[in-house]
Structures are given as C-alpha cells and as structure tokens.
C-alpha cells in the first residue's frame, strides 16, 4: 500500500480526499454511512459573521449531469458555530476546515479572527467565489484587485493555513490565483460553481428564486480540470482541485493535472459514501502503477 500522506503547506492530510463545503454539512450528517475520520479533511458549510437565512425556495434545479443551486450561504453565523458545532466536530479525527464568507472585507476579517483561536481548526477556506449572494462572495473573486485586497487583510489576522477558493466565472483564473498568492495565500482551491440559469418554458419563468445559480456536478468537470491544470502551472503554492468528481478516476485526473489534494462535492448527495470509494480507488491505482507515494502523481501529466 502506497503512502497517502500529503501536506498542503502547514496542513497535514492523512490522504488527499476531502469533502467540499456546502455538500457535506458538518460531517455528522454522514456518520451513519461511514467512518468520516478516514478522509483527509472536511470543509464545513460556508460560515459568515452573522446568521444568514439564505435565498428563498426554490434553490435547486437538476440539470444534465449536474445541478444548479442558489442556497445563498444559509448558516447560523460564526458564534453559533463556535459555541454549538465546534464542540462536536473538534472530536472528529481529521482536519476540519471552515469555509469563510462575507459581504464586506470587515466581515471576512472578523470571522477569520474568531477562527484563529480554535485549536482544532487548522485551516480556513476563504470563499471569494460564491455566486449566490448579492454582496461580497463572487464579487471579490472575479477581480484581481479585490481578490488581492481581501486576502491581504485576512492574511494579517489569520495565522494558520489560508486556502483561497477561486471562482471559475472569470476570464483568466490564473491571474486571480497569482494575485492571491502574492498576498500570502498558502494554497488555492478551485473551482467553485459556474454561474448558470434554468427556465420553465411552460410558465415562462426562471426556476430558481434568484434567477441564476451555481452549476456543479460532472457537467463542469472538464472545465474544472482545465482550470486546475492552468493554475497549477502558474502558481508555486499547492492547488486543491474540485469540480464534478464522481469517482477515483476523476480524482486522479485532477491530481495528474497538478492538484495536491481534491474535494468531492455534489457526488456526496447521490452516494454519501463516495469519498471512501474514491480513497480506496486512489489506493488501488497507486498500487497498480507501482507508486510508493501519492505525491508522485501530482502534476505527473505527460504531454
């Protein structure tokens, strides 16, 4: 059996398989199905400074090989997380990483500051790419200057591993990646969802309450893979790849393209045990190809 350990900057992972924010709740929703401590990390639901109710229903539409969502960062706020959720999740024997979002830079900073003091939260994922909120979110992540600005101020207050989650809704994702790297991001994760839309032709109305939403699932995988490949070549910091991963082969493709680790998102809704299957599949692949360590396949694409 190959060595599956991976380091993402200061973050030590027992294996490269993690679950994406907004698709895995706080982990405990999945503990009936498998031992969630076996995976490398859990990115918990997007957290903001204050309680957010999210967008009105309908928030989801099934699409060809994927889905559109417009949840809009529904969460009970960082203080609720610290007081009511952290005491439980801190006992899960894997990396618990909090995805942080905000409407203003000040909100990002205050939320990140509060997370500094939590011993069992080794990293945050700065979400500058949520397409479903009116202010903040993706607005920060689609422009080099604003992306750099929010990373710069959060970097000043946040001491642990700072992962920045990038938006694919840009002309050149490498430019954004370089801009956040220059301001001290320790790693980048990509892609967040692609902005999309669905229409009910019979009623002549949009299906989502917000008209547009974020597309995820295997439909986006080729785009995500291309973007991970581009970013991995552009930056020196580690890249965490995601976007439509449904099985081990998909995950391996992302690693060959340059991702040091991967996140599984939408697939969790269809098979809550998918992350373990991906982990086992990566293991088989490494054995089959005679690799001693999973690090050997990172960026091993032959062109």
């Amino acid at each position: 059996m190959a060595n599956l350990n991976i380091n993402i900057g200061k973050l030590q992972l027992k294996n490269p398989v993690m679950t994406a924010s907004g698709t895995f709740g706080y982990g405990t929703e999945f503990s009936d199905f498998f031992d969630i401590s076996r995976i490398g990390g859990i990115f918990v639901k997007g957290t903001t400074l204050r309680d957010r109710q999210g967008n009105p229903y309908p928030r989801m539409v099934e699409t060809p090989s994927g889905m559109l969502n417009a949840v809009g960062l529904q969460n009970k706020g960082i203080d609720y997380f610290i007081n009511h959720i952290y005491p439980t999740v801190k006992n899960i024997d894997t990396n618990i990483i909090v995805n942080v979002s905000g409407s203003t830079i000040k909100e990002y900073v205050e939320t990140a500051e509060k997370l500094n003091s939590l011993e069992k939260i080794p990293a945050i994922e700065l979400n500058i790419s949520c397409p479903n909120v009116k202010e903040g979110g993706m607005a920060f992540g689609t422009n080099c200057l604003s992306a750099a600005q929010v990373v710069k101020v959060v970097r000043r207050v946040y001491k642990n591993e700072l992962i920045v989650k990038l938006s694919p809704n840009v002309t050149d994702i490498s430019e954004i990646a370089l801009a956040v790297e220059a301001e001290g991001a320790d790693s980048v994760s990509l892609i967040n969802t692609l902005l999309g839309m669905a229409i009910d032709s019979e009623k002549r109305t949009p299906i989502l309450s917000t008209i547009t939403g974020g597309l995820s699932g295997p439909a986006v995988k080729p785009i995500a893979l291309r973007m991970v490949w581009e970013v991995a070549q552009a930056v020196k910091i580690p890249v965490i790849g995601m976007g439509g991963i449904m099985n081990a082969a998909d995950a391996i493709e992302f690693m060959l393209a340059g991702a040091s680790a991967i996140q599984i998102g939408t697939a969790n809704f269809i098979d809550p045990t998918v992350s373990i299957k991906v982990l086992d599949g990566i293991n088989d692949y490494l054995d089959r190809h005679g690799y001693k360590s999973v690090t050997e396949i990172i960026g091993a694409l032959e062109i």
Binding site: E62, P64, N268
Partner: protein, 258 residues
Amino acid sequence: MKKFMLDLIVKKNEVLNNQYSLLILTSHNKLPEMLPGQFAEVRVDHSPTTFLRRPISINYIDYETNELWLLIQIVGDGTRKMYELKAGDTLNLIFPLGNSFSLPEKKDARILLIGGGVGIAPLLFWGSYLKERGYTCNFLLGGRSKDNLLQLCEFERFGNVYTTTEDGSHGECGFVTQHSLLKASNFDYIYTCGPTPMMKAVASYASKTKANCEVSLENTMACGFGACLCCVTDTTEGHLCVCTEGPVFNITKLKWQI
C-alpha cells in the same frame, strides 16, 4: 434514527394503471424500522437524464413479510424508470429519512387523513400505524378522476374511506375540501399530503375548525439528509430543511397565508 444506504430487491411491481405502480421491495436482511411520514431517496439507474435521487414516501411497511412499499407516479424520466422496474431488479435506497407524523394525545380523538393523488402514499402507512395503536381513522381521498384514486381496498383495512373526484367518476364530485363529511363532522386531528393548493385548503379548514393539523411537504431535494440545504421551507423558525425537520410540519409552524 439510523440511516442506511441499501440495495433492495424488487419483489413485485404491480401496475395500478398507466400512470401509477406499486413497487414492493424486499431484502435478504431484516428491513430497518421506520416511521410513518418518512421517505426514501431512490437512486435511478440507467436513466441518463436523471442525475439526483428521487425522494419517495414510504407507502407501507410490513415487517412480517419484510416488504417495503413505494407508490410510484410517472412524473418524469426518473419515475418512469421506477414504474418499469421488474421483479428481481435491485434498487438502491437511502432511508429512512425525515421525521414522522405525531400521534394524537387521546385514543378517542377524531382523526381525519386527507390525501390527494399520489400524496395518499404516506397516509396508508400512517393509517395502519394508528389502527395498530387503537385509534379510529377516517380517510378522505381525492383525485381528478377514479384513475387517480389508488389503494382504496388497502385504506379500507384501516378505517372509513370517503372519496371525491373532480369529474364525479367516484365518490362526491369536487375537491376534497368540498366533501360533505367536512360540514357534517368535526375533527381533532387532520393529517394531509397532496398537491400544495389542496394542503393549503385543508390547512385553512383545519385552522377554522381548530383542528390540530400536520402536512407532509415534498420540496425539491438534492440529498435528502440535511447536507445540501436546498429543500427549505419558510417557517416561524426561519428556513428549515424539509428533509430533516420535515417532511411533516404542523401548520402553526409554517408561514402559509391561510
């Protein structure tokens, strides 16, 4: 209640008419315990246009014969695949999911279960559960025509059955809320499942007659177990997931204009 993801075996798929079938599932192992009102998330294989699972109410459970019943109505490609399943096929389910209906406080409570179309599905299990515990049930079932009135014989095992059809082909003509039973009798507890306009009309009747009323919602879901937060409904406690906090809600908790 522990959730499972299991491959169940199709024991029989009984075609009720060209729109509905009764899918009878079984397992080599003992089926887990479940409660009336709960549902399953069904994975639909070999349907290229069906990406997500489909939430389907638990219609009935028989622990002795180890059978789990799902009532299927063809709505799109996913449910059509389920309608076409044959004995011996397997079907992957995540279940049991969601909460359940709540028992009336007193055994002599006057109870009415109102269902419309395929929405009658969870009421059969609920009716059997109530009867087993010594309650007396009345069922008021409605459909567009007699083809949409399903499982009447099954319901008759567990209580008095009243029907309405919009075309008058079975029972009284009109909507369930126009049935003479509602004028003639009073009920302490009303449970309903069906199209939203019907449930709102029932909720309005219940609220006027001061009956305790629970409705079973069926919002669009991605996961079914509280991870995606897509299926929310607006309540007095804010947005709540229908899959974990529901599907059964007391009408006093919902922000319905009734």
